[in-house]
Structure formats: structure tokens, C-alpha cells
Symmetry: C2
Subunit: 208 residues, 2 copies
């Protein structure tokens, strides 16, 4: 990891990961900080606590608040928003495709496209057709080609399970989570603090 980098751990099913993913690149670049994109699955980590659903569903009052707050947050960030059908959506396939894309050169664009189709266009990312749409928006080849590529990726091996294990081992309990070195920051509300930590604390090392 570069001395001025922030790791961005996210789950495509996580609501506040949407404004985070859409704004992070620009905010980090403005401070000379590189972004390392780390998709993982929050479900198994919630499962450790005995939860079989999102806390936003398990706690209805918190869930009602979250949707209203997310609407305000997106409005404030100038991002389109509509509440997607069903929550949380099954994000495992989207995460596998994102990992494949990050091995090539289209991962970051695909990540933003998936968040956009889910939270701005209101599609369900559990469906192959939605992922094909995001792939097409990202790479722009013929839809049939994208469908074949999608199936190849989904049938192949993936580091997603290992990434999720790493998230658990590093104490991640929610998404999005940022790391600047070993310093952890949880939530879109801490995005600026994480970038600032990466920009200033790592900088001290550079000056030696």
C-alpha cells in the first residue's frame, strides 16, 4: 500500500456505501491520496452476532430513520436517489465481478455503476440482467458479450471469501469502513477524516 492511500471496504448492499463510493475518488484525489477498493460481504460478519438480517430491518425505528437520513445525505452530496426494491440486496455476485474488474482496469467504474443502478435507477443487483447493465455501462461492449463475460466470472474462482475473512480479522463490523494504515474509520461520515489521516499522518513518514 502506498504511503498515501486509503483502503475502502464496502458491501454493495450497504446503503451508506453508495454516497461513499460515488464521492471517494474525487475527494481522495484532491488530497493526493490513492484509493484501494476492497469489496467484501457484511452478511457473514453480522452472522457471527446471530443476526440473519440487516440491523436496519431488525430495528425498524433505526431503519425508518436511515432511509430518510440517506435521502438527505444524497441530496447534500448532489447524488440522485431512489429507494431500491428490497433491502439488503444479494450482493455476492456483484462483489465477485468487482474483484475481477479490479484485476483488470474496469473495476472502479463497475463499482460506481453497480451503486448507481441500485440506488439511483432502482434495480435489484441480485439479477444478472442488472449486472450486465452495469458491465455494459462500464465497458460498453455488446450486451451479449457482457452476458457471456459475466457468466465466466461468476463460474470462476474468487477471492471474495478471503477478503471477507480479512475484514473480520481486522475488526470491521460495518460498511463502509476505511483504513489509513492501521487507523480505522467507520461510515461515510468519517470519509473526510480517513482521507485526512492518510494525507497527513503518512506524510510525516515521507519527510524522514
Amino acid at each position: 500500500m502506498s504511503s498515501r492511500a486509503v483502503e475502502f471496504w464496502f458491501d454493495f448492499a450497504s446503503t451508506y456505501s453508495y454516497p461513499a463510493a460515488m464521492t471517494l475518488r474525487q475527494a481522495a484525489e484532491a488530497r493526493g491520496v490513492e484509493v484501494i477498493w476492497r469489496p467484501f460481504l457484511l452478511g457473514p460478519i453480522f452472522g457471527d452476532l446471530g443476526w440473519t438480517d440487516s440491523p436496519f430491518n431488525l430495528q425498524p425505528a433505526k431503519g425508518r430513520y436511515m432511509w430518510r437520513d440517506l435521502e438527505r445525505v444524497c441530496d447534500s452530496a448532489g447524488l440522485p436517489f431512489q429507494r431500491p426494491p428490497g433491502f439488503p440486496q444479494r450482493s455476492v455476485d456483484a462483489a465477485k465481478v468487482a474483484l475481477a474488474g479490479l484485476q483488470e482496469d474496469w473495476g472502479e467504474d463497475f463499482i460506481r455503476a453497480v451503486f448507481h443502478v441500485q440506488f439511483a435507477d432502482g434495480y435489484d443487483i441480485a439479477h444478472d440482467a442488472t449486472l450486465e447493465r452495469a458491465l455494459y455501462a462500464t465497458i460498453g461492449r455488446h450486451p451479449d458479450v457482457m452476458a457471456v463475460r459475466l457468466q465466466e466470472i461468476l463460474a470462476g474462482p474468487s477471492d471474495l471469501r478471503a477478503h471477507t475473512e480479512e475484514a473480520r480479522d481486522r475488526g470491521i463490523f460495518g460498511a463502509p469502513t476505511y483504513f489509513a494504515g492501521t487507523e480505522m474509520f467507520w461510515g461515510y461520515d468519517r470519509q473526510d477524516a480517513a482521507i485526512d489521516w492518510a494525507a497527513t499522518q503518512s506524510n510525516q513518514g515521507d519527510q524522514e
Copy 2:
């Protein structure tokens, strides 16, 4: 409630209520917004979910993060911080005294004093001696007088239960929680947004 007011719902046992309570008055005054102080108990609301402890204890990874984050947040706000003995502390007596003080003219100072003795000085607010210390810091009369006054208040009637019921009915699920009119904001991270909402949205009504 004044047209430019923010209600501040807090529990003395809530960690992020500390930086909130210490900074709110000044931040609100700078925008011409009045603060309505609303102590309540989070325990019964957590109890509705079957929780018998704070989520920061029930989820150890989240708890470890919170203490580090709180340290950073207090540092950023220029507030002294030391981790108090035991968490969450029994806050019912402190809340009763605060309600009594808010009926007179020393409630707000007492609230800040209780948060200070807990999170800056490291005392346990479950103890009468700690509340006497906070009362003495607030009103400044002889310690023996404060001890008598404390016992009078604790033996008397209190609206604390009704406040907690109101919190539940209004959808509060954590602390601190702010209201600007009917608009709810959860967490110290939303303090500025709540004040801004009170300052600008209510303002529109004033101009009619």
C-alpha cells in the same frame, strides 16, 4: 418550541452525547438557534429489542472502535477525554437531577458538569458523591447543602419516565438525537445538520 430551536435528546451514559453536550450551546447560538435539553433513558428502548447491555458491549469489535473514535472526536473538538470506569454507567439519578435543574436555572450547567466529571475526570455518575461534585461545580454552594438537595430531588417525583416514553414514541433509537421541528437527526455527527435545519427551514416560516 421556538421556531428556531433544536431539541437535544441525550442519555448521560451515551458516549457520543459527551462531545455533543459540550459543544452544542455554542454551535447553536452561532446560528441563532435555541437548545431544548431533553434527558431520557436509552436502556428501556434497547430493552424493547431484547438487549440487556449497550451495543458497544454486545458487539466487541464495534465497542473497541467506538472508544478509539471517541478519543479522536474529542481530540478534534478540543475536549479532554479519559475512558470512564465501567460502561454504560447508571444514568437514571443524573437524569432526574438534570430534569430538576432544567425546571430552575442550573440544569444546562449541571448537564455539562456531569458529562465532564464522567468523561474528562473519569468518575462514575452512578455514585451520589459524583453527582454532588457536579452540583457543587454548577451551583457552588456548600457540599453538605448539595448532598441534602440531591437526596430531596432523588426522593421526589420526576418526569423522566414520561420523557423516555416520548422518546420511544417519536422513534428515537439512540443518543444523542436531535429534532428540528419533526425532522430527526441521530448522532453527534449530525449536530451541525440539525442546527442548520433549525436555522434555515424554520426561517422560511418566519418570512411569511
